[in-house]
Symmetry: C2
Subunit: 356 residues, 2 copies
């Protein structure tokens, strides 16, 4: 058995991406869009990236409303590989359900959880880190991949690593996970060698569920119960706690010395907002265009323009963000990119759910 035999990719495909409105919507979230201009949507690119490591050993966990779109975008996947959550109950339930199914299905399974809406460049570095993480997971660790920071980002959590593991080359013990910092604190973290927490976990399914069971035995038992009798999913699901896997398992397990980190040196971004999208796509032109650059006319302007078939003229604006869609238009600045979620909230409050 080679390192990657029985390695399964679990792909949580959730989150509306409200800071990317009006591109990303409840009904058509971020992971269903091609945000890089590559011709592949984020979830397609995620599957493309993982296929060489896992072949068809993949489980996508997504909302019931998106299952049809996901299946349509991923014709290479067996439809059984796309699990529909009856409702959104945060990442512990989603990843835990996949873990319970895999524990029952493949006693030798190691699973790696990789969000459907992140962008990764330098695939060789990614593959190397994952391969090391799988080895550490086989040895019983809950393994995370720690991304080498390129700047003191305030939008990500950080991982503080300790000594090298004695049993797995290339992996280190995790001292703690820390929340998104202020910019002063972020600079100190980068200086101290902390790494970005990209939310990638590699672990044996049984280890994950046992760690959960130490914190919340009922939760772990409920997930295993669904795997034993999938017909109970609809009934049990609404009773599960809404909690992120970080809080439910990763943080307490780190405190207990059960978490390892594998340093990853590759490009990674969660494209949290239009400012990070602009950074990701920026080329030589002052105006970065996602879509058809031939539609954009700019005079004394820079920033990000997302086209949707119409000509867009921009004059005399710095760091502007213009996002064109069929029924809604956003005009803001890179600096205010985080505030886009306020528009979505206002539209919901105003009874304009169809636009969100």
């Amino acid at each position: 058995m080679t390192d990657l035999d029985h390695f399964w990719a679990v792909i949580p495909a959730g989150g509306a991406g409200t800071r990317l409105w009006p591109l990303s919507r409840q009904g058509s979230p971020k992971f269903l869009h091609d945000l890089t201009g590559s011709g592949r949507t984020l979830i397609q690119a995620t599957v493309d990236r993982l296929a060489p490591l896992v072949a068809d050993r993949m489980l996508v966990v997504t909302g019931r409303a998106h299952r049809e779109a996901v299946v349509a975008q991923l014709p290479e996947l067996d439809a059984q590989s796309v699990i529909a959550e009856p409702s959104a109950r945060d990442s512990m339930a989603a990843i835990g359900l996949a873990a319970a199914f895999l524990e029952a299905r493949d006693p030798d399974a190691v699973m790696g959880s990789f969000a459907a809406d992140h962008v990764i460049t330098e695939t060789a570095g990614f593959n190397a880190a994952v391969t090391t993480a799988v080895s550490a997971a086989r040895a019983g660790w809950l393994v995370t991949i720690g991304i080498e920071p390129t700047h003191p980002a305030t939008g990500f959590g950080y991982i503080s690593a300790g000594d090298a593991l004695s049993d797995v080359a290339g992996a280190f013990g995790v001292l703690e996970f820390v929340e998104k910092p202020s910019s002063d604190v972020a600079a100190a973290y980068v200086e101290a060698g902390y790494r970005w927490n990209a939310g990638m976990f590699v672990v044996r399914p049984g280890v994950l569920l046992d760690l959960l069971g130490q914190q919340d035995p009922d939760f772990a038992a409920a997930l295993r119960g669904i795997a034993a009798d999938p017909s109970t999913l609809a009934e049990v699901w609404p009773t599960l706690p809404r909690i992120a896997v970080d809080h439910a398992v990763a943080e307490p397990a780190a405190a207990a010395g059960r978490v390892a980190v594998v340093p990853g040196s590759f490009g990674w971004d969660d494209i949290g907002d239009f400012a990070s999208l602009q950074t990701l796509l920026a080329g030589d032109d002052p105006v970065t265009v996602l879509g058809d650059a031939g539609l954009v006319r700019a005079i004394d302007a820079d920033g990000l323009v997302v086209t949707s078939g119409r000509t867009i003229a921009v004059i005399g604006l710095r760091d502007v963000v213009v996002v064109d869609t069929g029924d809604a238009l956003l005009v803001t600045t890179l600096e205010r990119a985080q505030d886009v979620k306020s528009i979505v909230a206002a539209l919901k409050e105003g009874g304009h759910d169809h636009l969100t």
Copy 2:
């Protein structure tokens, strides 16, 4: 015969309004649009304003391409009242042609030329000024209406007035017409009592053509020839000089002491660009909306938004201009409103005439 018997309104409907792109287009120029949110297009509002003064004594002069749209927008006009220019040859040819037709048709005619794409408020003041101007025109003067400046505008020409006329109460001799000034010069003009030149001329058709004939006898003869035999229009028209009525007649006539000005105290704007449109429409809300204000969501923003059926969200931009249309979108600032014409020029150069 009362003062306004035999008073004819001539309405030149030309000019693409390129600084109002993408709202105004070659194929659908400014005067065909409702730019005030009144429910009437600019040319409809012009006709509405003049009808109490002239009843059905109106001639609209427009480009061949727009004649059908003009006739459709003005069902109250006899279709014979809408003259189609074979091509655009500036205002002297357009107004001179109307003068030649009127000279032949009504020996007692006085004509007043009023652009189809200006906005006038305080109609009583307008009516009073026009009535005085008609009296002065009957006395043989070329009469212009001088608008009382509300600020030292740099986008309009100015009129320097001299002594009161001895033969017509409320009218003054014109010393000279001056071109659009710098802002320092504009302030001096306003201080000195100069008035805005709104391009409104009231005159007996024969006087206008005779004044033209003193400068360019062939031009005046050609216009009178077309009126005598309209079947020659298509042949003669392309030979006419391209020149504005101001340069062809008004300026030399002023130098010869033949021009009078009637002071007008009413609101007037030529809506030259989106900054002047914003000034015209501005109300209490920080974002001025032309269209459906319910479609606009603004956070920390002010300026002008023109809607076209889609939701428009604006965050964190001061003095922004957003103009939405079906096939083109403009994003700029009030300060750069004049530069919109550069976009139109670039689109033409790039072979995108269909968008201009």
